[in-house]
Amino acid sequence: MTKAGVGAGTGTTVAADAPAATVGLPRRRGVELSLIVLAVLLSVYGYCAVGLARNGSLPPGAAGYGAGLGVLALLAHLAVRLRAPWADPLLLPIAVLLNGMGLVLIYRLDLETPGERAAPTQLVWSTVGVALFIVVVTALGDHRVLQRYSYVCVVAALALLTLPILFPAVNGARIWIRIAGFSIQPGEFAKVLLAVFFAAYLAANRTALSYAGRRIWRFSRMQLPTGRVLGPIVTIWLLSVGVLILERDLGTSLLFFGLFVVMLYVATGRTGWIAVGLLLASLGAVAVGRLEPHVHSRIEDWLHPFASIEAGQGANQLAQSLFSFAAGGAFGTGLGVGHSILIGFAAKSDFILATAGEELGLAGLSALFLLYGLLVERGYRAGLSARDPFGRLLAAGLASIVAFQVFVIAGGVTGLIPLTGMAMPFLAQGGSSVVTNWAIVALLIRVSDSARRPCGAPSAAPPTDPAAAPLAGPVARRAARRPHGPTAVQPTEPRTEPPTAPLGVQPGEPVDALVDKGPKSPGRTG
């Protein structure tokens, strides 16, 4: 599908963006548009398939649903086309398709629970998510601005994380706050903020953190970090354990810790960090598994998913989830005719993947996994091609968030690892999660836009001028590696970027320069 779509879209691109193509890297906004149209059509097809399977007729809201999703996707596309024209063309279509499929699956499950409809709310949240996406893409001219707010980010993240402790526990976990009838999971937003903070902190301090300590054993290439810089990782570890114990949210604490370890490794390249991380993680896991009954029972369920059946108490959620996947087989029962609702509580949120597995089969499930894989891959790709360490770390961190989240919850509901509550990105019911994931995609779009943007000299003629275009060719692009400069596309557009002066000083080390000029360096206090 993807390959064909890209191929078909390329033709459109060349036709639509002929002037831009002369600049260098193709912008491929036409590809993006074609893929978005395809994603919307696929989602509408799924929506219709549910209705046809259930009532033998097209569902009444099909047109409205398609129009709503289409308008959201088109607005997002317009924002990207106008404000981030060089961004990776796959990120937005994947997000649209996953969000659309999520809405289809939730709508499908709503049919089983006429009393509580979740799809309309989810559509509202998706709209909020897309709105945030558009705001981020439009207002955030350059992702490096965020570096300046790294402390604001970490304070906000900690505040968001501790907020739910003040609210009553829901289903054994203190991760929700209720405001005006809406349940919000602040921890979701904290993920992005922490990723921003980690990226900024590590970009500033990676040299210090790279100092090698003693080797673990002779001739080993693995070296432990020095004791002085162990502080931060221990702090984050304690923070994760704190989250786990205070909020009983194993998934989130796992995610934070994994995120930090990966970003630390990416920043320093020290395998020792991974060893320390694994050691601390397993220490924490063993201790918590022993002490916390909540966590302990999850592990028991994972090891013996059918113990409750043998005890005569019927199938528990995990067993029902496994039944669901098994019932799907290779090709699934078809949308609308499975029985994943038997899972009961959380069928639309944590266990949404079971519906996909049962009704779309291994084929559909693998397709979803591959879509996530592609999204993550595009995220890392943006990280690889970013020119500044902050951008690289940010993109890698955001991609890791998506990857870990998918692995933790998908592995949990399929019995690969102990189950921890976590939202399947874009797919699962849950407003905070959808909004957060749109923010993640928006940031990735920003990073990839700045990474793929050709950097002409500030004085370069606008490439929209056909006569000047050949001059701003590959040579010009390669010569000036500065991240900023007038873009070829919208030369008259007012930029919301910070002043270019500090960024333009040292093309090789723009980030460190920026950080050092800041009032406080996160690295020195963190």
């Binding site: 490794y265 390249g269 996947f325 089969g361 499930l365 693998s366 690889l384 690969l416």
Partner: protein, 485 residues
């Protein structure tokens, strides 16, 4: 940093691979065992997701399905449930299935591979064909006549077509409404508990699952054995039999209800049901002769299925002569289901042929296309055709001028035999009233119906309990219903 981002990406790719491999494990490798887990409700949901096929009597369904809109969507309904309960059984979402609902379950529920358009089609599509229909051999009018004749008294009626073995009526009384057990709610639970508690055992299918001492009706078998063995050659010649008869090797004296049985001819003895004559005839025929004939009629056959199983009727094969004497008049360990006694009567009517009884004429797809038919059934010769002819004569005499005059139908040839079977410790129980018979209409080339009726009535005075008084009128009603239709 580039290298390390690549490492992180490779790590994520490994995670993705683990997810894919694990998904394949759950969805392909272990899918079968998960599907078969008893706690997995998908099997039940699929089973009740479509209307169940119907059971037809005389071309019209006596069953139906009701859409409950619940998770287990369709529930079984029955028209005249108590009337047909011994045939249909019940199809409950909780308590399983019985009788035809059980024997034809695969077809009725649509899972029968014969229903799928192509071989293995349903396996590939995970689909289920619409439930097929089961067309029974029952005669609606005969069934009604038997049910109304029993009128709630404990008892059973079985009627078969002698020339084919088709079961025309199968009634057990008291009965119950199987529709009460269909659902999975508290109502079904209460009904189940109440029916199981009921001392009258309404769910017991007395026509095929209960054996009774056949009493004097077994004298048909004894007479056939004696005639086949040549112990009696002339129906009207006096037999050398004392009355009362002292059971061989004992001091027990066997008596008759009436007088005139001493040295009576076989015709007289049959007409007036002389215990002494038949006890001695059985002893004279010998254990092997009696056993052979009883077996040929279907006694001691544990494999009868119509298509649901029939309790085996028994004739003890290791007896001393006193026990043989009692067994020959349908006492001691001799026991028979009503259906078995109908087969005995049918064999007499059909020239000695015992046809395997069957209840399902054919099975069809939802649209009516035939899936399978009853086909030709094996039959065996229970007695010589000449013996059968003479027994018909004897049985016709019983109805014309003997104990069974209540079964006479004007304008038809009817043969019958009454029975009053004692049972219980020291024969203290209230005797069972039996009547077995067959009937041939004026224009019929062969007898069209053979019936066995048993009434185990606790309310009547003991003196009134005779097969001729209580059971024969029911048999006549059933035979008339068949002859008229």
């Amino acid at each position: 940093m580039t290298r390390h981002i690549r490492h992180a990406a490779v790590f994520c790719a490994l995670l993705l691979a683990a997810l894919l491999v694990n998904a394949a494990r759950v969805q392909l490798v272990q899918s079968g065992s998960y599907d078969a887990n008893p706690a997995n409700r998908r099997g039940s949901i699929a089973r009740y997701a479509q209307p169940r096929g119907d059971i037809l009597v005389g071309g019209t369904p006596v069953t139906g399905s009701r859409d409950t809109g619940e998770q287990l969507r369709y529930e079984r309904t029955y028209q005249d449930g108590p009337l047909y309960a011994p045939v249909t059984g019940f199809a409950s979402q909780v308590y399983g299935t019985t009788f035809l609902e059980h024997a034809g379950d695969a077809l009725l529920s649509g899972s029968d591979p014969l229903l799928s358009p192509f071989p293995l089609w349903n396996d590939v599509t995970h689909g289920r064909a619409p439930g097929g229909d089961v067309v029974t051999t029952l005669n609606r009018h005969a069934q009604w006549a038997a049910y109304e004749g029993l009128d709630g008294r404990k008892g059973a009626v079985a009627a078969v077509e002698p020339s084919t073995g088709r079961v025309l009526a199968l009634v057990s009384s008291p009965s119950y409404d199987p529709g009460m057990l269909s659902g999975n709610d508290a109502r079904a639970e209460r009904a189940w508990a109440r029916l199981n508690r009921d001392p009258d055992k309404p769910m017991l299918n007395r026509a095929v699952r209960q054996t009774y001492p056949p009493g004097s009706t077994f004298k048909v078998v004894t007479a056939a054995a004696a005639l086949d063995a040549g112990v009696v050659t002339d129906l009207d010649a006096a037999t050398d039999s004392p009355a009362p008869y002292r059971l061989p090797g004992t001091t027990t004296r066997l008596t008759n209800e009436g007088d005139g049985c001493e040295d009576a001819s076989l015709r007289e003895a049959f007409e007036w049901s002389c215990n002494t004559v038949f006890a001695k005839l059985g002893v004279d025929t010998g254990l092997s002769g009696m056993t052979r004939t009883a077996r040929a009629f279907g006694f001691n056959d544990e494999s009868v299925r119509i298509p649901f199983g029939v309790a085996p009727s028994t004739f003890d094969t290791s007896l001393d002569r006193a026990q043989l004497a009692l067994s020959s008049i349908g006492q001691y360990n001799t026991r028979a289901t009503p259906l078995q006694m109908a087969m005995v009567s049918a064999a007499v009517a059909d020239g000695g042929q015992v046809r395997t009884p069957y209840l399902v004429e054919r099975t069809t797809r939802k649209g009516g296309a035939t899936v399978a038919t009853a086909g030709s059934r094996p039959s065996r010769q229970a007695m010589l055709p000449s013996t059968a002819r003479r027994l018909r004569e004897l049985m016709a005499d019983v109805v014309r001028e003997g104990t069974g005059t209540n079964a006479a139908i004007p304008g038809a040839i009817v043969g019958g035999k009454t029975g009053t079977a004692q049972h219980g410790l020291g024969n203290a129980g209230i005797p069972y009233a039996w009547f077995v018979s067959w009937a041939q209409g004026q224009r019929d080339p062969v007898p069209r119906v053979a019936v066995a009726v048993v009434v185990e009535d606790g309310s009547a005075r003991r003196g009134d309990i005779t097969g001729g008084g209580m059971a024969a009128p029911i048999a006549r009603a059933v035979m008339e219903a068949v002859l008229d239709s």
